[in-house]
Amino acid sequence: MTAALDEATVWTWLAEVADPEIPVISVVDLGIVRSVGVDDDSVTVTLTPTYSGCPATHVIEAAVREALQAHGVDDVRIVTQLSPAWTTAWLSEAGRQKLKGYGIAPPAQQVIDISGLRGGLAAAVSRRAGGASSAVPSVACPHCGSTHTELTSQFGSTPCKALYRCRACREPFDYFKCH
C-alpha cells in the first residue's frame, strides 16, 4: 500500500464489482453495500441480501473480497446486515438506467411492499374482483417505452424478476420487481 486507504476509494472499487446475475449493474448500483469501514489496512464491507434465498449472495461476497484483494487489501471483513431490509428504492438512478439499457424494466414504482403490505394485498384482492388497475403499477417496455404491457409470469429467471410482454412491440422482457 503506497497511499493511505480511505473509504471513498473503497467505494470506487466496489462500484466496479458487477452483480453476478445482472452484470450490467454494480453491487453499489444495486444498493446492497450498506457501509464501508476502513481501519488501517483492514476494510469492513457491510452487505445486505436482496432476497433471503438469493443464491448470488455468496458469489457477491466472494467478488467483493476478490476485488479488494486485487487492490492490495488483504484483510477484508464482510458483515451481513438484514435490517433495514433491502428495497428496490435503493437502486441508484444510474443503476435503473443501466437496467433499462440492458433490456430489463426497472421497478416501476418505489417500495409498494413497504408502504403498505396489507394495502398491497387488499389491492390484489380488489384487482381480482374486477377493480380498476390503478393499484397496479404500469410497467414500461424497456425496448419501445410503451406502457401497453402485460404480466406473463410473476417469477422470472431470478427471484428478483418477473416476466412481462409488450403488446406494442411484442417483445418479451424481464421486469425487476418492486420489493
Binding site: Y51, L82, V125
Partner: protein, 250 residues
C-alpha cells in the same frame, strides 16, 4: 432445550420442509411459469430456513450450524406442522396447501416483524416482502382454479376439504408457543387464527369454494415431533448425502 431455540427450529423446519416439497416439482410444473414460481418460492423459503437455523444454532450454543440442523436430525427431531410435509398431489392440491400455508405465514411473519426479539424481527422483516408476494400469487391462483372450469373447481374443492384437517395445528399452541407469546416474541393464537379464517374466507368466497367448518376436528403432532410417514421419505432424500457420506463438504 431453550424455548426460544425450539420456537426458532419450528420456524426453520416449516420453511425447510415446504421448500423441499416444492423443489420436488422442479422441472415438473404444469406450465413453465408455474415451474419457475414453485422453485422461486422454494428458494425464498430455503433462504428463510437458513436464517432461522443459523439464529437457533447460535442461540443454542452447541456448535450446530444451519447444515447440522437441516441434515443431521431425524424426523422426530423436526418440529414442522403436518401441513407442510403433505405430499404433492395434483396441482390444485399443491396450490391449496401453499395457500393455506402462505396465509398463515403472512400473518405470522407480519407479527414477528414486530417481535420484542430484535433478531427475530430483523429476519421476519426481511422475509415479509417475500411472503406477501407468495400469498398474492397463491390466493390469485386459488381464485382462478376455484372459479375456473367445473373440473378445476372440483379438484380445488376436494383439495380444500382434504387438507383442512392440517390447518388447525398452527393455532394449537403448546407451552413453548405460549412462552413466546408471554415474552412478546410471537403473536397470540386467537389473533392469528381470526386473521387466517378471514382471509381464507374472502378468497374462498371469491373462488366460489365452500369453506370447511372452522371447528372441524384437526390433526396435530408435528410440533411435538410426531409426524406422518411422509416426512421420513422426504428427509431420506434430502439428507441422503450426509447419511451416505457423513461430514462431506464442498
Amino acid at each position: 432445550m431453550d424455548a426460544k431455540v425450539q420456537y426458532l427450529l419450528r420456524l426453520g423446519d416449516n420453511a425447510l420442509v415446504l421448500s423441499q416439497r416444492l423443489s420436488e416439482l422442479c422441472g415438473k410444473g404444469p406450465a413453465l411459469e408455474e415451474d419457475m414460481a414453485l422453485t422461486n418460492v422454494a428458494l425464498d423459503l430455503l433462504g428463510q430456513a437458513r436464517l432461522w437455523f443459523t439464529c437457533a444454532g447460535e442461540l443454542e450454543g452447541r456448535g450446530r450450524d444451519e447444515d447440522a440442523l437441516a441434515y443431521l436430525r431425524d424426523a422426530h427431531d423436526f418440529h414442522n406442522v403436518l401441513l407442510v410435509e403433505q405430499p404433492n398431489g395434483n396441482y390444485a392440491h399443491t396450490l391449496v396447501r401453499q395457500f393455506y400455508f402462505d396465509t398463515w405465514h403472512y400473518f405470522l411473519i407480519g407479527a414477528l416483524a414486530q417481535s420484542a426479539d430484535a433478531r427475530i424481527a430483523d429476519i421476519a422483516g426481511k422475509a415479509l416482502k417475500e411472503v406477501t408476494y407468495h400469498l398474492r400469487r397463491s390466493g390469485d391462483l386459488v381464485v382462478r382454479l376455484g372459479d375456473g372450469t367445473a373440473l378445476s373447481h372440483e379438484y380445488t374443492q376436494t383439495a380444500a376439504d382434504e387438507l383442512w384437517m392440517y390447518t388447525g395445528e398452527a393455532f394449537n399452541y403448546d407451552a413453548i408457543d405460549e412462552q413466546m407469546v408471554a415474552a412478546g416474541i410471537a403473536p397470540p393464537a386467537a389473533t392469528l387464527r381470526a386473521q387466517w379464517l378471514a382471509h381464507v374466507g374472502d378468497i374462498f368466497a371469491e373462488a366460489t369454494l365452500r369453506m370447511p367448518a372452522p371447528d372441524a376436528w384437526m390433526q396435530k403432532g408435528g410440533k411435538a415431533g410426531r409426524h406422518s410417514e411422509h416426512l421420513g421419505y422426504l428427509l431420506a432424500e434430502m439428507q441422503f448425502l450426509q447419511r451416505a457420506y457423513p461430514g462431506a463438504a464442498w
